[in-house]
Amino acid sequence: MTLDEIKPDQECEIVDITSEGIMGQRLLDMGFIPGTRIKVIRNAPLVDPVEFELKGYHISLRHSEAKQVEVSLL
């Protein structure tokens, strides 16, 4: 499944990043690497974007961007 399908307060582990270009690089740079645990904190008031926590810091992504992160639920 992909990161955009995870509900707030659920935790999961990153399996892979499916995009290669600028988006993929940005995600890798921000620490979205396989094996990392990531938690969905909350959706924005209008549902998009979403805030995540990984490695002790918080990052928000649009759903379309989170779709490029493959995860497995913990």
Partner: protein
Amino acid sequence: MSNTSTKIMVALAGQPNSGKSTIFNMLTGARQHVANYPGVTVEKKSGSFRLKDDRVELVDLPGTHSLTSYTLEERIARDFLLNDKPAAVVDVVDASNLERNLYLTFQLAEMDISLVINLNMMDVAEKRGIKINTQKLSQELGAPVVPTVGNKGKGKEQLKEAILSTSKKGQVTPFRINYGDDLEPILDSLEKRLSEETEISGRYPVRWLAVKLMENDKEAQRLVGKYSQKSGVILRSAEEKREAFKLEHKKSPQKVIAITRHQEAQRIVEASVTRSREITRTLTDRIDQVACSRYFGPVILVATIYLIYELAIVQGYKITEYTWPVLAWSRDLIASLLPSEGFIFDPFFRSMPIWVVDGTIAVLNYVPIFLILFALIAILEDTGYMARMAFILDRIFRYFGLHGQSVLPMVIGGLYVGGCAIPGVLACRGMKDEKARLATIMIVPLMNCLAKIPFYVLLIGMFFAAYKGIAMFFIATITIIIALSVAKILSLTVLRKKESAPFVMEMPPYHIPTTGGVLRRCLERTWLFVKKIITIVILVSVIVYVLIYFPGISKERKAHYISQSGQAQQTFLKKIGKDSPYASLMAGDNLMEFTRYWRDYKKAKMGAKGKKAKQALDQEFREKNFEFFKIVKRGKYKVKGEMIKDKHAKKVYNAYKKLGKTTNKLRREIKEETIITSYMGRAGLFIEPLTRWAGFNWRVNIALMSSFAAKESSVATLGGIYQSPPGEKHRLEERMKEKEKGWTALHVLAIMLFMAMYPPCIPTLLMIRLETGSTKWMLFATFYPIVLGTIIAVLVFTGGNLLGLSGMQAMIAFYILALIFLVLMGLIKREPEFT
């Protein structure tokens, strides 16, 4: 000073918000220089400090998470490191976020740089129970490690020492990442090939180039293509190896490289950091539970925006009431140094400089607003709430090719009623998404700036007096509706090819800003603004002056006015009679002198409030010239405490009043004739056949064109064109109604909408040039609103007339039409997402 001192260049690099600028200020103190990197709008701060005999020149690089070639900031930081080759680089690391920060440190080391690791934010790390073994860290990285608390100035001297000794040693930090058995052989062979080519290996670190080629970095490929003879072979081989690697390992080298860096960072952190507690952000989380929640989030956001608007625009405007007299006083001071005015014609070297000074102080008048605005923006940035604003609003703005961060510039520009486009454009600075940033810059001037308001009030008073509130609401919200549609159209057309960026945004923990930091940034930005804008405003207002006042009225007309004025003066002298004791006082040049005295007195009296001020004023003028004083007081004055009634003086007063009226009438006629026959006036007449479709006659054309210099002048110009007949004092809207009997509410609606879409004023255009780094965008920002405004005005006026709509009906119809258009624009598919 010793002449043995050498200048050593040192750069500050680090991830965003690690405290680079704070460290920069700590090291350099007040000596700093803010400019832009060539061709782009990213701020370049440089400064210097001295240590014993050496002078260190420090450059603050933009904060980046990584050093790819995908974003502007990263390219700038990277190019600086590669091309300017600083003697040492201070890597400012957020000690409370060591692992993520090391990711950048590794990339810096790969560039053959002499690094000084600056562990900043030690206080935060400590509070979070993070203990860092600096010795171990230094060993691991092969670079000196200096802990600091930037905002408290702790560790300053140690950092200076480390910078100096490192840059003097000139030894490159030896640390290199081992990318593993799969990748290292490939990197090795690429490195070998690149080393054989002296031109490129002399310029750039080959290991770095090899890694970048495996990452498929376009910029590195360009460098190889440029400086390597066998670039074709090398690039092709890199490409083949990349593809082969991907096939074999089911992962791109790019991914493996990033993963390895993160793993290495993790390893080093595990080896050198002990944590007594788990990382928690309890306070930030608790705040965000409210600040980003479904219902309270938007409420708090609106309240924040309202507060900014209230504090900066409303209260700032009130402050200008106190600062304005100072500006007005300096204007009068300058005026008093210029050649004095004439009876009906003022000398060029008086009217032109005054015009320029007026234009300049009109802009300077906004400085209090800017100061407050910039301070509030700095606070928003420092607290971390800015990221939350973008988080909450992104969903809406994205539909129109904008970004969550677009909201602040729009608020400042005048999202509701009253704002200023100049700081609005400036506030677009922080936006990483170039496409959204340009779109925002282009629509900020469509907001309702303070200077447009008097114009609206005037026109609403003419035809929509019964619906003032509704009309104001209409104009305030229609501009947002139109601006959003425009942003979408631009992003689908002219901005189509511009670089966009993923949203990926950090949500930093909340943080209490320091007063010093906020003040410094606010003053810095205001000063930058004043310096840049004022010089050019002066230049441009000279040009506009020429357009409005030249070629001037013909010789015959001039002679005609002079003779009329002469006749009036003769009449005046005749009226007071030869026998009057004041006859000689008013004869010849004395009359001009008295005229000046009279004008000064009238003006001063208008400004004087309260009984005391008036008395002081009288005393002053009495001392200036007692004889003249007798006349301006209509012959009622005191001598030795006794009230005197001077009949002769009263007679002169009455006669002069007539003369003054005639003179003023002549001056107005001259002004009107000058404007009509000026280049701008001719243009206004010339385009009348066209603008008729929008309901504009030549008078309106001139008023609209003249407000180009500064919108404040639109009402003033209208005032000049629609003068009240002598002796009658009607308000401007009544005078306009009187002169434009054929006007309907439709005329006024069309003019108002055109004003709403009016091109940015000249200072804003300069700001746009500055912030886009391009004259083309500045010209675009000038002309697209004219086209848009014309289309809208014609649509409303001609369309309304054809359908026989009243002003109110047309207003509602147009509003609905614009809303439908907006929804349609929002529905158009956005760009394909990033992959």
